[in-house]
């Protein structure tokens, strides 16, 4: 998993809770990387899971809520860091289509070793799109947070209906309907 996800997660803990908690979590989790993350590095996704679970224990906030919240935070960070990949004039659905067809293509050019989730979109009409998420990492809630925040970014009111396609949070479908 790309290092930016880890650095953004630690930044979220810093901002939302406290830098002390961030360091305590890292010490407590005894991570193989020692938590010395850099945005351009690549790390084992299980370290993130360990951190989230530890944070959940400390804060008594359920893991799914934390991951989804992190998804929202991550979207804003990504847009800030890579504005060239997000065309603000786009429609929400155009953007979601471009995740697999454009953004992931560009990410692979920069980081050929990146293991990205597989995203596919089915759009039956102008107001409804079903996004299928599939990954080796259990981050369907992260995807949900990213989708929700992208709707905010594109100023589109939507209803998202989630259906899990597996039990381990590795596959899910999101039926997104624009609200009139």
């Amino acid at each position: 998993m790309k290092g930016i996800v880890f650095t953004e997660f630690l930044e979220l803990v810093d901002e939302t809770f406290s830098p002390d908690l961030t360091e305590e979590l890292i010490l407590e989790c005894e991570l193989p990387s020692g938590g010395a993350y850099t945005a351009i590095g690549t790390y084992d996704h299980r370290e993130l899971i360990t951190l989230v679970v530890a944070l959940s224990k400390r804060t008594e906030i359920p893991v799914p809520v934390l991951v989804k919240t992190f998804g929202k935070h991550l979207f804003k960070s990504l847009v800030r860091s890579f504005p060239v990949l997000v065309d603000a004039k786009q429609d929400l659905f155009d953007f979601l289509h471009s995740v697999e067809n454009y953004i992931h293509v560009e990410v692979r050019k920069l980081y050929p070793e990146a293991q990205l989730p597989k995203i596919s979109c089915e759009q039956s009409n102008a107001d409804r799109l079903v996004l299928h998420y599939q990954s080796r990492c259990p981050f369907a809630h992260l995807a949900e947070g990213l989708i929700e925040e992208s709707a905010v970014y594109f100023k589109t009111a939507v209803e998202i209906e989630r259906r899990d396609d597996g039990s381990a949070d590795t596959a899910a479908s999101f039926a997104i309907t624009k609200r009139v």
Partner: protein, 447 residues
């Protein structure tokens, strides 16, 4: 923040920075390599582009690119040598480069291109406004997702001139072959003419002497009439009798009509040979005409008489109801001559004490006619059979054959007259050549 935690963060951030620096270093190096690679590819691409440009510009054909509406977008140097410059440089319609009669075809090609790379023979307009023949291939391509066409136009003027020259040379060669054949036959023909000339000459000398005798006898008769009343009757009678004896009127009465007849026959024979030679050697005007096959066989038999008369009897069985074939009479005569001479040589080679036989027959078939030439010669060995139509293949002794006869025969029958040739042979027994040739009417259908 707790001091220990702060120290922990400091160390962690420091390690992260170091890791980031190492990664940056690695990425920079990768970028450097990628940049070098890109440079190399760009150079290769530029070289390839230059090469393609050079090929395009120096191609011996006009290459043009037109857009979907037919406007000329790009053209090579050779195009400027063929077509009007203003049409090309102003990007006008490519259709204007074609003769009016071919503009509808060009319009179709702008839309569809030529089917599966097929070449079309069309007329173009050159910079002087004259028409010229060209071969055109049009390919449909997509440039920037728009329909375009690539036109490759080859000027055929030079090729057509070369083709005309080739036809002229072929005609000259055919005539030279005929002359060569005549040259080979010349001594025989001279002998053929010499024999009747000899006896016609003897007969004329005989007529001359006989005439002198008759004139002498007539003088005596006149003298007798004038002096019938004179006294020297005895002397006169004696002179009269002597002249009568000298003239031998009874003998002359018997011999002179036969002498006249023989001389006339001799002269007719010479006339026949001379007209056969004339017929045989006539160059023609290069165009195909109707050929009377039977007449050609008769003519060639006469011309070649001296080639076969010492070794064989030549008989014919010619069907009277044959349609003419269309072709060059000289070519056909050459075929018959080659086959007769080969037959005579085969009979000679057999070294039989008896006279051999050459038989020529013609008959009508459903598609044309069948010409058969058989001989009782030595036949053709099986291992030679598949090579007999190869140029320069001969089994004859040096000076007797050049190995061209059957090669020329095959070429004329199969390529020029649209016929087929089959051979049937048995070593020591003889050979039959069967020529199947479509007649005029049939050739018309075929063409």
């Amino acid at each position: 923040m707790d001091q220990n935690l702060l120290l922990h963060r400091y160390n962690r951030e420091k390690r992260a920075r170091q890791a980031a620096e190492e990664l940056m270093e690695k990425k920079s190096y990768e970028l450097f390599l990628a940049h070098n690679n890109l440079h190399k590819h760009a150079d290769q691409f530029a070289a390839q582009s230059e090469q393609l440009e050079s090929i395009l510009e120096n191609a011996g054909v006009a290459i043009l690119i037109a857009d979907g509406g037919g406007a000329v977008m790009r053209f090579n140097q050779h195009s400027l040598e063929l077509f009007p410059q203003d049409i090309l440089s102003k990007g006008l319609s490519i259709i204007d480069l074609f003769a009016e009669e071919h503009q509808p075809t060009a319009t179709h090609l702008v839309t569809c291109g030529s089917s599966s790379g097929e070449s079309l023979d069309l007329k173009g307009v050159n910079h002087a406004g004259s028409l010229f023949p060209m071969e055109v291939t049009v390919s449909k391509i997509s440039l920037h997702e728009e329909h375009h066409t690539i036109w490759i136009c080859r000027d055929l003027s030079q090729r057509e001139k070369a083709e005309a020259r080739r036809r002229e040379l072929e005609k000259e060669l055919s005539q030279a072959q005929k002359m060569e054949a005549l040259g080979t036959l010349a001594s025989g023909i001279a002998h053929e003419i010499n024999t009747p000339i000899q006896f016609v000459q003897d007969n004329i000398r005989f007529l001359q002497e006989s005439f002198e005798d008759i004139v002498g006898l007539l003088g005596k008769y006149r003298q007798a009439v004038s002096v019938l009343e004179a006294t020297q009757k005895e002397a006169l009678l004696s002179g009269f009798n002597a002249a009568d004896k000298e003239a031998d009127l009874d003998f002359l009465k018997e011999e002179l009509p036969e002498c006249h007849e023989q001389s006339l026959e001799g002269i007719q024979r010479i006339g026949k040979i001379v007209s056969a030679i004339k017929e045989f050697s006539h160059p023609g005007n290069g165009e195909d005409v109707d050929i009377d096959v039977n007449e050609a066989i008769k003519t060639t038999s006469i011309v070649s008489h001296n080639q076969w008369k010492y070794v064989a009897d030549l008989t014919t069985d010619l069907a009277p109801d044959l349609h003419p074939i269309k072709g060059n009479p000289g070519d056909f005569n050459q075929v018959v001559l080659n086959l007769i001479v080969n037959a005579a040589h085969a009979i000679e080679e057999k070294k039989s004490p008896e006279l051999g036989a050459i038989h020529i027959s013609t008959s009508a078939t459903s598609t044309g006619l069948l010409l058969e030439i058989s001989d009782t010669g030595c036949g053709i060995a099986e291992d030679h059979l598949k090579r007999i139509y190869d140029p320069f293949f001969t089994t004859k002794e040096v000076g007797k054959g050049t190995g061209q006869g059957l090669a020329i025969t095959y070429n004329i029958i199969s390529k020029k007259l649209g016929g087929t040739i089959h051979v049937e042979t048995e070593e020591g027994t003889g050979t039959t050549f069967r020529l199947s040739i479509p007649t005029h009417a049939r050739q018309g259908i075929l063409s």
